[in-house]
């Protein structure tokens, strides 16, 4: 009986949270069009989000390509399908692994950063101070961050994909004696517009989810240092879950279009 009550309470909380995040997103779409535009802050955030994530995204992308190729290679060799390696790895990276891994990494780095930063601004009343000086903190803090992560994430994904392919081609070159030129020719031959478009669109949504949840958690952070920690933590957890849900939906939708 007690368990049941707890169960219902947590279910209710999940729905309440979904509702609140939706309202938050609604506010973003309302305020993003309205001047004054915080262009300078947008550029600064893009720099922070994009440029400073580069090393991390680069290294992960490289290792992702390397490992994926190393691990699938023996199986493919067994089947005598060695020649398909570039196409297979290329499609896997570009359609699925590249965007998802990059987004997960960014959820950890960017999402938690936003949660912690906005959370501590909330707790130290900096957000309230912006409000009482007659300015709109949502615009300055939230709109710029969400926009920046929407714009930056696809770029990071493209970079991770490219570096991942380089890593993969390196393995092919060493183990299979495939020249870089041949490798990339094969990759681009097998890629179709239908592979690139859904992946890119998906990345925009990933960027939006990371920015939205990170900002929401920070902006509504509870009091105290513990509240800030919880905001950062929850930002990562919720975003990661959301990323997989978005990914699932994206694959479903892409599949429908593919059939048409």
């Amino acid at each position: 009986m007690k368990q049941e009550v707890a169960y219902w309470r947590s279910t209710r909380n999940v729905f309440r949270e979904i509702g609140e995040v939706s309202l938050f997103a609604g506010r973003f779409f309302r305020e993003v069009w309205r001047p004054p535009y915080e262009f300078r802050e947008f550029v600064r955030q893009s720099y922070l989000i994009g440029y400073q994530s580069l090393p991390l995204v680069g290294v992960t992308g490289f290792i992702m390509g390397l490992v994926l190729t190393l691990q699938t290679r023996p199986t493919m060799v067994n089947f005598g399908a060695e020649g398909l390696m570039p196409s297979m790895v290329g499609i896997a990276i570009i359609r699925e692994i590249g965007p998802v891994i990059t987004a997960l990494i960014c959820a950890g780095k960017i999402g938690s950063g936003m949660g912690a930063e906005l959370g501590s601004m909330k707790v130290t009343e900096q957000i309230a101070a912006m409000e009482v000086s007659g300015t709109n903190p949502f615009k300055y803090l939230v709109v710029t961050r969400i926009l920046a992560s929407v714009v930056m994430l696809p770029l990071l994904v493209i970079i991770a994909d490219s570096i991942g392919l380089v890593g993969s081609s390196l393995v092919e070159y060493v183990k299979g004696d495939v020249s870089f030129r041949l490798y990339f020719t094969k990759v681009f031959d097998s890629l179709q517009f239908g592979d690139l478009l859904p992946a890119t669109i998906k990345s925009f949504f990933f960027g939006f989810a990371i920015g939205l949840v990170g900002c929401y958690k920070g902006y509504h952070s509870r009091k105290g240092t513990a509240g800030v920690g919880r905001a950062a933590n929850a930002a990562v957890v919720v975003t990661s879950m959301l990323l997989f849900i978005i990914d699932f939906i994206a694959v479903l939708v892409a599949d429908i279009f593919y059939k048409l």
Binding site: P36, E117, M121, T124, E125, Q126, A128, A129, M130, E131, V132, S133, G134, T135, N136, Y140
Partner: protein, 258 residues
């Protein structure tokens, strides 16, 4: 607007006047915790009113209701002739420019330099005044708190007292008609506290603002106040000049002066 500072007696003699801030029967609860339960207050032009109350008695909550950082559950709040209940966001933002607010913890934007902290509200005004005028205003505000040299520092490089001054400068830069101070001297040593108190009085003289000041510091209350309101159990329990309350026989009032 240029009314000189006035004592309670003077105001009583001058008869009715429209208050800058008028609170009527304010109630505010958080969940089951009823913090403010029927608070009345009027703040007149050129006046310094000090609110005294125990820690956790809801002083900050009260102040936040006046600038709509919190919404009162019940009661009327009138600020500079606007009823806060019926106000739209645009007018509220306009109104907030005229009401300065000094936070208990200074609340400087810690990712910005002192200059950017002061610039922040100016830049986002519907009617901007141009870079030069803004720069001049920033210099002027910093000079009036005696920290012109700190203009390019980050908040983390400032001491607590300096932070409080910068926060004060940031409040002043919009030339508010009323300033709400939330414990301007808390966490500061007695000497720095005196300096801040002096600063507040200088500012009042120079800019001719009315002020609502929350404090625990009875010295501060004595020096600064034209009138003192005592907040007990969520109501305006007692009210009068510092001397009147000091001589009061009521044990709940006396408790603050011991």
């Amino acid at each position: 607007m240029n009314a000189p500072m006035q004592t309670v007696e003077e105001r009583r003699k001058r008869g009715p006047q429209t208050p800058l801030i008028r609170l009527r029967d304010i109630h505010k609860a958080f969940g089951d915790h009823q913090v403010i339960r029927g608070f009345d207050l009027e703040l007149y032009e050129g006046e310094n009113v000090v609110i005294i109350g125990k820690s956790g008695s809801g002083k900050s909550v009260l102040l936040k209701c006046i600038v709509r950082l919190l919404q009162a559950d019940k009661g009327q709040i009138e600020v500079l002739g606007h009823n806060l209940e019926a106000i739209d966001q645009y007018s509220l933002d306009q109104l907030r420019v005229d009401v300065g607010f000094l936070f208990q913890g200074s609340a400087l934007y810690d990712s910005m330099t002192v200059r950017e902290n002061l610039e922040f509200p100016l830049r986002r005004h519907p009617e901007r005044m141009g870079e030069e005028a803004e720069e001049k205003l920033i210099r002027e505000a910093l000079d009036s708190v005696g920290l012109g040299s700190a203009i390019d520092l980050m908040p983390e490089e400032l001491s607590g007292g300096m932070k409080r001054r910068i926060a004060l400068a940031r409040t002043l830069i919009l030339k508010p008609k009323v300033i709400l101070y939330d414990e301007p001297t808390s966490g500061l040593d007695p000497i720095t506290s005196k300096e801040i108190i002096q600063l507040i009085m200088d500012i009042q003289e120079k800019y001719n603002t009315a002020a609502l000041i929350i404090t625990h510091d009875m010295d501060c209350a004595r020096v600064i106040s034209n009138r003192v309101v005592i907040l007990v159990e969520g109501t305006n329990y007692a009210e009068g000049t510092y001397e009147e309350l000091y001589r009061s026989e009521d044990p709940k009032v006396q408790a603050f002066f011991k």
